[in-house]
């Protein structure tokens, strides 16, 4: 059968179909590509629009280095804890009924909580474990004053690590649950019929199969915490401990000097780190999907 409706000479018909996507692509160019380009190129220009590497050199300022380290620590801690606790929670769900109410509630709630960040999250922790919060007052009246050595909730590393777990664990549940669903009970039976016990099963069968998914989730959580801004800013508004807050600081003239070029340089630093982590994540996702 020959192709009907095509020029015989094989030349491409001139078509105006592409006009249909112009509005969308135009919009994306203006509000997505242009801002990204402004950041990427702007990092290499000074206020007089001449080429410079000063902005990037300023990244070695001590407070930026400290912010980078602190942000990395907070992201690392919450990624590790979030991934571990999220994986345990996923396992508790996956061992229940696959169509049960519990599973549906937990998945829906995870969808909401993974997005539930920002100002409300900071408020929620101030109202619960903050110095006037429900949990603190309860603990204090029972002789347990967990702020005896200072209010660590407003310290970047301790406070933010705890608060970030509130959206990190649900995010891990969302990414790890599909991987756990791929584990077949027959594999466990096969292990047992070959004489293996629970330890053998986890060490040699389920563990290696789930590890790429776990590592992938870990990286995703790291990138997620690394770029978070609203919660940190609503909880800790002094000292701008997080890298995202340093970007905002360089952008506004409220604190210190207005340095738009420097803001772009910090933004580039953040993008480079987040992109590296995301690339690793996609590689691992690919490995996982090969087996599960």
């Amino acid at each position: 059968m020959t192709k009907v409706g095509r020029p015989i000479l094989g030349g491409r018909r001139f078509s105006l179909d592409w006009i249909g996507v112009v509005p969308f692509l135009g919009y994306a160019a203006l509000f997505l590509v242009l801002p990204s380009a402004i950041v990427a190129l702007g990092a290499f220009f000074d206020a007089n629009n001449s080429l410079t590497f000063d902005n990037l050199a300023h990244l070695s300022r001590s407070y930026i280095v400290k912010s980078t380290i602190d942000t990395t620590i907070v992201s690392g801690i919450t990624a590790l804890l979030g991934a571990a606790l999220g994986a345990i929670l996923s396992y508790a769900i996956v061992t229940g009924s696959p169509t049960g109410l519990l599973r549906r509630i937990v998945i829906s709630a995870s969808g909401v909580l993974a997005q539930f960040g920002g100002v409300t999250l900071a408020f929620a922790f101030i109202a619960s474990i903050g110095p006037a919060g429900l949990v603190y007052l309860f603990a204090q009246s029972h002789g347990f004053d967990y702020y005896a050595h200072g209010i660590w909730l407003f310290e970047p590393i301790q406070g933010l690590s705890l608060v970030y777990l509130y959206f990190q664990i649900p995010l891990m549940v969302l990414v790890f649950l599909p991987a756990l669903d791929g584990i077949k009970p027959q594999w466990r039976e096969a292990t047992e019929s070959l004489g293996g016990n629970t330890w053998h099963y986890w060490r040699h069968v389920a563990g290696p199969l789930l590890f790429p998914a776990f590592l992938g989730g870990l990286l995703l959580l790291f990138a997620n915490a690394f770029s978070a801004y609203a919660t940190a800013n609503a909880l800790i508004n002094q000292g701008q401990p997080m890298l995202a807050q340093q970007i905002a600081g360089a952008l506004s003239s409220e604190v210190g000097a207005y340095e738009p070029g420097f803001a772009k340089a910090i933004a580039v630093e953040m993008i480079v780190i987040v992109t590296l982590v995301t690339i690793l994540y996609t590689q691992l996702q690919r490995r996982t999907s090969r087996w599960l």
Partner: protein, 292 residues
């Protein structure tokens, strides 16, 4: 032998159940206490009893909410609601026709469009702000500096989530056959769109709509750094003067978002048309939390 085996299984089953309920119980505690604490905090009175004073005084802050729902809102909640409306409409008008057109005429572009739509997931909001800053300065002097211009940036922010919701909807119907049938019966493109496609993906559209409303109402990073007072920014300001009122509004907006997202899960589960991915739109593909 068989009895002993059953005994082993029974012991393992019991252990698993204890583990499951312990994990789920602890998770429920960690995730529910902060939300309950906000309710408790916002109904606390100086005398130690319960009061609705904070909730009632929400309406006595004209910077927070008033009756001006016109084109120049001067209260934060009003502005956020209007932003949610404008963002949703612009998003739908931009995305639905483009996605249908690409499916019909330019299938080779579909991967590219998907890439563009999911791109905002990899760019942290705080980085996007740095690039949007000069654009908004330019718009402010040449066009308009109304808070409602924020919706232009918000469309980009909600793009990935809405794309997934709409993509799931369009994937569940046969766009090509439906369109060809309608066209062969003499329908114009506008009428194909409005009377054939839209009614068939109404669930997906509602889904995308609710997601974008929930995201816009919770947005803080972009508004705060472009110096606009939307609801979340105003809540942080207000918290310094009157934490009770701030937390009351935060709880109210949180419950509002919860209701929206629960509505999504019901929309997705209507038996008439199965949209298996609708419930977990948040958890599909390369998931990324935009929390924080």
């Amino acid at each position: 032998m068989a009895v002993a085996r059953r005994g082993v299984h029974r012991a393992r089953w019991l252990k698993l159940q204890v583990f499951r309920y312990a994990v789920l119980g602890l998770a429920a505690l960690f995730f529910l206490v902060p939300i309950y604490a906000m309710l408790e905090f916002s109904t606390r009175s100086n005398s130690g009893g319960r009061t609705l004073e904070f909730w009632q005084s929400i309406f006595t802050y004209p910077d927070l909410i008033n009756w001006n729902f016109g084109p120049a809102p001067d209260a934060a909640i009003n502005a956020s609601l209007e932003l949610a409306l404008i963002t949703s409409v612009v998003m739908l008008v931009l995305l639905v026709p483009t996605m249908v057109w690409v499916r019909l005429k330019l299938p080779r572009l579909s991967r590219f469009i998907e890439f563009v739509c999911l791109l905002p997931l990899t760019i942290p909001a705080i980085v996007l702000v740095v690039g949007l800053f000069p654009i908004y300065i330019w718009m402010g002097t040449n066009f308009s500096d109304s808070i409602l211009t924020l919706s232009l940036a918000y469309v980009v922010l909600v793009l990935p989530y809405c794309y997934r919701a709409l993509d799931a909807g369009l994937g569940a119907i046969d766009v090509k056959t439906l369109t060809e049938a309608a066209r062969s019966l003499g329908a114009s493109w506008a009428s194909v769109m409005w009377r054939v496609i839209v009614p068939n993906i109404s669930n997906a559209i509602l889904n995308a709509l609710l997601l974008s409303v929930a995201l816009v109402l919770g947005e803080y990073t972009i508004a705060n750094n472009l110096l606009y007072n939307n609801m979340q920014v105003e809540l942080v300001h207000l918290a310094r003067a009157n934490a009770g009122v701030s937390i009351a509004v935060a709880v109210a907006s949180l419950f509002f978002a919860f209701i929206l997202l629960i509505a999504i899960s019901f929309v997705g589960n209507r038996p008439r048309r199965a949209l298996p991915e609708a419930v977990t739109t948040f958890g599909k593909g390369p998931v990324q939390g935009s929390a924080g």
